[in-house]
């Protein structure tokens, strides 16, 4: 089977290179049959990638430990669910997954372009195939990245790391790779538009959908990673400002900027070059993220071992992408500038432009601090410094978002700013006594102001929705108006949801970061012994043991938790001892919306232990982080939901086809 896998991998390489060559020639010579052959090669790439992936998946499912990679990342006792997760538990499988996803993306684009092949799509597919070729080359050329290496005879599985045995870990890597694959498409489209000098913006609608998909999966991947770190790793939080975490946030920032620039470009015909540059930058940042993770050149908690072939290939890819993007932008700069037209900049455009500039600046700053400074100056900063910068920035983003949502329509409609601001200001004023009288919010002035701003911003989004509902309602009732307003423009509804999601996430981050309590307790493991920490009392009631998943021997330490004299729950943090992998300490979380109580025993223990050292953390409002992240994902889904036929036909009306939207067409008509 290993031979089949290897052969499929070589086929991947041949077909991807063939596709690039044929499509490139076909586009250059304007010969459709060459492009058609190129698409055939893309199908070949797809099938060989699927075969390679299927061989590896089958090896995992059949517990075939003659594959070194399977032996390293699974064992006979794993359930099928986690054996599938073994596929992307290491570097080799991750690259294969990524290549397969790229092949799926390429074939999806090729299949929709068979009737009449256009040069733009053909060039785009060629770029995607070229990226797939690089990752295939990595697997073929670098032994440490090759999933199809034979194991020494009679190898038993080493087992999946017990810390990876969590549903979030099964979904987190594929979500990130799906995001990276999807974000390749806007880049490929941008390169195609630049190469062909296609200033009409025909590439926009296609690129936009993939950009939304990529942004959705990136939000999902980052959210799941944070959740897993919080629930399983007990690092005392969900975000450590580690290089790998930071470099996954950078493309999220640029992708967010890209989505906003695309809206302005599509509707108003402005920002064409920004959009192109952001599409290239976002893809480049995804490669930086991979480069950081896989090469280990920047010290990271997540980084894989250093590896020479890998460093050379990934670094070359980084340089080539950067040089090609910058060179093409420079060559086509005037052409795209001249085609941009002279639409006046309105308040809404200005808001988008300001946001894009701010997100670009944040992404550059984060990249500079995470990657450039350690490499250039050999120094790094810790989480405290990042927190110090991130807190005001996050709150400023929320405030800016709210002010734009309120003041832009006010300016457009000619109503005064105070009229627009009054409801959100009232809500913020009403929230103040609640925040002052409940909980410990008043203890941190910054946090109090930040939470006030979040209330104000959330109210601003609601006011914007209500205003649209009122306009849409006409003769009908307000509820019908709300329904119509939500259905009328999917992009707008998605934007409302996403903005609300960002506000909720920031509120959660403020609560769980600024107001977090970290403490510890040390107590005798005697029934009735109790310890106080972080405002809670934990009373020990005894040990118990059972057999957990993967035949692990679990020892639980049972506690009754009370707060202010009232019992709030029972918890049982445990040590899991695995036959092959040693022990893992499992934290428990006693959660509610106002605050999570997070308890983990600091040293492995068994039923004979005399003392227990507990880590007791309190994370207020942390649930808002997960809720907000879920809102972001839902927002992405709403934006992606297929349009109904009626709308689809309307989208093909003249004026729309150019990619320049309604506003432009309307202005042209005046």
């Amino acid at each position: 089977m290993i031979v089949i896998g290897r052969f499929a991998l070589l086929c991947c390489l041949v077909f991807s290179l063939g596709a690039v060559l044929l499509l490139g020639l076909g586009v250059r010579r304007r010969r459709e049959e060459l492009m058609r052959w190129g698409y055939l090669a893309v199908y070949g790439l797809f099938f060989s990638a699927v075969v390679a992936a299927a061989v590896l998946l089958e090896a995992f499912l059949a517990r075939d430990f003659s594959f070194a990679y399977v032996a390293q990342n699974s064992d006979a006792s794993l359930s099928p669910f986690y054996r599938i997760a073994g596929f992307w538990a290491g570097q080799q499988g991750s690259f294969l997954l990524w290549t397969t996803l790229l092949a799926i993306v390429a074939v999806a684009m090729a299949m929709r372009n068979v009737e009449r092949i256009d040069r733009l799509t053909a060039t785009t597919v060629a770029v995607v195939a070229a990226v797939a070729a690089v990752f295939t080359l990595l697997m073929v050329a670098d032994r440490a990245s090759d999933p199809f290496v034979a194991a020494a005879p009679a190898t038993a599985g080493a087992g999946l790391n017990p810390l990876l045995l969590h549903p979030a870990m099964v979904l987190h890597p594929p979500a990130l790779f799906a995001a990276y694959a999807a974000l390749t498409v806007p880049f490929a489209y941008a390169i195609a538009a630049l190469v062909l000098g296609d200033t009409g913006g025909v590439w926009l609608p296609g690129a936009q959908r993939w950009a939304v998909a990529g942004w959705l999966f990136l939000s999902l991947g980052i959210g799941l990673g944070a959740w897993w770190a919080y629930v399983v790793l007990s690092w005392g939080g969900y975000w450590g400002w580690d290089p790998v975490e930071n470099t996954s946030l950078v493309p999220w920032l640029t992708a967010t900027a890209l989505l906003h620039a695309m809206i302005v470009y599509r509707r108003r015909g402005l920002l064409s070059r920004w959009t192109l540059a952001l599409a290239c930058a976002t893809f480049w940042c995804t490669i930086v993220a991979t480069w950081t993770t896989r090469t280990g050149l920047v010290s990271s908690v997540h980084a894989f071992q250093r590896n020479q072939t890998l460093v050379v290939i990934l670094s070359s890819l980084l340089i080539v992408v950067a040089v090609v993007s910058v060179a093409l932008l420079a060559v086509r700069w005037r052409r795209f500038g001249a085609a941009a037209g002279a639409a006046p900049v309105r308040a809404g455009d200005a808001a988008h432009i300001a946001l894009d500039a701010a997100l670009g600046a944040l992404a550059a700053a984060l990249l500079a601090a995470t990657v450039v400074a350690p490499l250039a100056a050999g120094r790094t900063v810790g989480p405290q410094t990042y927190d110090l910068v991130a807190r005001p920035v996050g709150v400023a983003v929320v405030l800016g978002l709210a002010l734009c949502a309120l003041l832009v329509p006010a300016r457009r409609d000619g109503t005064g700013p105070w009229r627009a601001l009054r409801w959100p200001l009232l809500v913020a004023a009403a929230a103040l006594p609640v925040l002052l009288l409940t909980g410990d919010w008043r203890e941190r002035p910054f946090g109090l102001v930040a939470l006030e701003i979040c209330c104000f911003a959330a109210a601003a989004v609601v006011v914007a929705v209500a205003a649209s509902a009122r306009r849409a309602a006409g003769e009908r009732g307000p509820l019908a108006g709300l329904g119509r307003a939500l259905v009328a423009s999917r992009t707008r509804s998605a934007a409302w949801l996403a903005h609300l999601g960002v506000i909720v996430v920031v509120a959660g981050l403020i609560g769980s970061n600024v107001y977090a309590i970290h403490s510890s307790a040390y107590l005798a493991a005697r029934t009735g012994a109790s310890a106080r920490a972080a405002g809670y009392t934990l009373r020990f009631t005894g040990f118990s043991q059972d057999t957990g998943p993967q035949d692990s021997q679990r020892t639980f330490a049972h506690f009754v938790v009370s707060r202010g004299g009232r019992v709030v729950g029972r918890i049982a943090p445990h040590t899991d001892v695995y036959a092959v992998d040693g022990a893992a300490l499992r934290a428990v979380i006693l959660g509610s919306l106002p605050r999570d109580l997070f308890v983990v025993v600091q040293d492995p223990f068994d039923a004979t232990s005399a003392h227990l050292r507990l880590q007791v953390d309190v994370f207020p409002l942390v649930r808002l982080v997960w809720a907000g992240a879920a809102l972001l994902v839902v927002a992405g889904g709403v934006a992606l939901w297929p349009r109904r036929r009626r709308v689809a036909v309307a989208a093909l009306e003249p004026g729309q086809e150019t990619g320049l939207g309604r506003d432009e067409a309307r202005e042209g008509a005046r």
């Binding site: 690092w235 005392g236 010290s299 894989f304 600046a361 550059a364 400074a373 900063v381």
Partner: protein, 140 residues
């Protein structure tokens, strides 16, 4: 958008992005801890804040009321070690053989780091299989 406004916008954005990036590099380069391999620590780093990655040596973990002490070995294969003391929050994955990244003040005299921060490696790829249990003084 007029040409002039466009140019102003581009210049303003580039300046904003550049200023942010340069400011961050400056902050990190002036305030940050020095990143070092264990083998690269030298007398020149005495009294500096350093960030060092390494593996926890088996049989060296001592836990007491003050926190934890252990010896960390070089990751690049050189036979260098450094001692670490740490009194803060322990990650649940800390154990002998595990790779850790510590940040703290280095004292070359005692060849010792007083860590303010300790992180264990993310278990993306699992290498060691040694059980941490014998290291922990169970049942004492």
């Amino acid at each position: 958008m007029s040409k002039k406004a466009q140019r102003r916008l581009i210049v303003a954005t580039v300046v904003l992005v550049a200023v942010f990036a340069v400011a961050m590099v400056y902050v990190v380069a002036s305030r940050g801890a020095y990143y070092r391999q264990v083998s690269a620590l030298s007398a020149a780093d005495d009294g500096r804040d350093v960030t060092v990655g390494g593996a926890v040596v088996h049989g060296t973990i001592v836990r007491d009321a003050a926190g934890v002490r252990f010896t960390m070995e070089d990751l690049t294969g050189l036979p260098t070690t450094v001692r670490v003391t740490y009194g803060g929050q322990m990650p649940a994955t800390f154990a002998a053989g595990v790779q850790v990244v510590v940040t703290g003040r280095f004292a070359s005299g005692g060849d010792q780091i007083t860590a303010a921060q300790l992180e264990t490696k993310c278990p993306s790829k699992y290498a060691g299989k040694a059980s941490p249990l014998p290291q922990t003084g169970l049942g004492q």
